[in-house]
């Protein structure tokens, strides 16, 4: 059905379609609308989930963990400081191999207080064992949230999934939304290690070094195996519902001499920059990274000039995306740090990054003479 919805509403609509057993969430700008909408669905009887209005994000994830280990399907949503406050528990959810699904509305981190879009919050969760996908449209926020459950709950994965959408730029943007009936695209959840009082077991207790090491290896193996599961899930989603997604979204890349790379909404707006550059005779292409974990194969970038826009940073090491990509391609790039704290970055600006690229250098957009 054709609707118009914000990114936040789209996530809530997806949750309504999935009907998790338990939703535990704490409000934070700009995620608030997700929690409000879910609470309204539950109160109005449209969504038969248990909604736990927890007193913090730490407790939100802890409650999801407690519910999930019984074999229940769980969902939460957060942003920025909420995600950081949850950090101990995000590690726990992954280590406990629980298929919790979370929407994170990407927002910068204080001080100073800033409520606008930035990816640094989610990137600080990069090494926790969560799968992470970054979306660029309202429809994609909806579709990715639905697919996240199937991917997380697959027995070859059993790791939590985080769906990231840009604060305000997407969370509050209204775009067309087609909702679906998931049917058996989302099979019933069967958690192999669910608590069973008839077969008592200990979970997460003291663990010796050898066993601990093996558990970490097991997580690593699962995140590698998740590549296949994601591919299969997105393919099946396309077959049933007609919308195709992949690890990356490539635009005019085939004959491109220079490719610009970004995540989230910037990764979509840069297609307009590519059109502009092509008119000027620059053979440009764009590549939007959707999945950060597992990290995609970017062999397509080999031998091309690459401009990477990071809406994030790792102090002293530059853009996180740039660092990850260079580690894989072993080739220099032009690294642009832009859009922090909701900084406005237009397609004109992006075209300019490409025009003025200096491969091997780093540039903080909006800061004078810093290349």
């Amino acid at each position: 059905m054709k609707k118009i919805a914000t990114g936040n509403k789209a996530v809530a609509e997806a949750v309504k379609q999935i009907v998790p057993d338990v939703v535990a969430a704490y409000p934070i700008t700009p995620q608030t609308e997700i929690v409000e909408q879910i609470a309204e669905f539950v109160t109005g009887g449209e969504l038969k989930s248990r909604y736990i209005p927890v007193e913090s994000e730490h407790s939100a994830m802890a409650a999801c963990i407690g519910a999930s280990i019984t074999g229940a399907r769980t969902f939460t949503a957060t942003s920025s400081h909420g995600l950081l406050y949850m950090h101990e528990m995000t590690n726990w959810a992954a280590g406990a191999r629980l298929p919790v699904v979370m929407a994170n509305v990407n927002r910068s981190i204080g001080p100073g207080w800033n409520i606008w879009a930035e990816h640094t919050d989610a990137l600080q969760e990069r090494d926790t064992g969560w799968l992470q996908v970054y979306v660029s449209t309202v429809q994609e926020a909806y579709d990715a949230t639905i697919m996240a459950f199937r991917i997380a709950e697959h027995h070859d994965v059993l790791l939590p999934v985080m769906v990231n959408l840009d604060g305000f730029v997407l969370s509050h943007l209204m775009q067309p939304l087609d909702t679906i009936e998931v049917g058996d695209f989302i099979p019933p959840l069967s958690l192999p290690h669910a608590i069973d009082t008839n077969n008592p077991a200990g979970y997460g207790g003291l663990t010796g070094t050898d066993q601990h090491f093996l558990m970490r290896w097991d997580m690593e193996r699962s995140i590698r195996d998740s590549v296949k599961v994601i591919e299969e899930t997105e393919k099946e989603f396309a077959r049933r519902f007609g919308r195709e997604y992949g690890f990356t979204e490539n635009y005019q890349c085939d004959d491109a001499e220079v490719i610009v790379v970004a995540m989230g909404t910037l990764g979509k707006e840069m297609e307009v920059a590519v059109d502009l550059l092509r008119k000027e005779g620059v053979k440009a292409g764009s590549l939007r990274i959707r999945w950060l974990r597992p990290f995609p194969n970017l062999s397509i970038l080999k031998g091309k000039e690459v401009v990477i826009i990071d809406r994030d940073y790792s102090f002293g090491r530059g853009g996180v995306l740039a660092t990850e990509i260079v580690a894989q391609t072993k080739e220099d790039v032009f690294s642009v740090i832009a859009g922090l704290g909701g900084q406005e970055v237009t397609y004109d600006d992006i075209a300019d990054f490409v025009r003025k690229r200096q491969v091997g250098k780093e540039f903080w957009f909006g800061v004078k003479d810093n290349v």
Binding site: I4, F168, L170, H172, M174, Q175, E271
Partner: protein, 175 residues
Amino acid sequence: MFEIRIHSRGGQGGVTAARLLALAAIYDGKHATAAPFYGAERRGAPIVSFVRIDDKPVRIYSQIRKPDMVVVLDASVMDVVDVLSGLKEGGKVLVNSRQKREFAGFKSASVDLTGIALKENLVVSGSPILNTPVIGALAKMGIVSVDSAKKAIKEMFTDERNVRVAETAYQELIA
């Protein structure tokens, strides 16, 4: 692509107007996005919201700098904000006003949205509803079709008066 910037004050329904307009455009078979100015909205403070309408999916997320059209829901905003800023040459201006307002170099139109809402007693929390009548005026200006405008209003509001005020604004637009 057709880009519209809506000026209003916090609480006057500028964001809802943007949403209604985008929804009507979608019903017309077009692609559209509607966005509030991202930030903490304060009641009474001047705010802007944005609508983009195109035949292809809209891939631009940044704010509208060079609109094709400006809509002013509250004429008093013009005392503090340059509502014509960046408006394309020959662009359209629609102002909520009893008298016709002229803006040199632009296609100007006026309609008394406040009066229309008050006549129907369409008032919420002491404020006349401006976001549904304005869609009627925009339909008259050809931004969206009349059918889609009505359908969008009916989708979002159950109160019949919202359709009536849109119809009145359609008839009373002074261009």
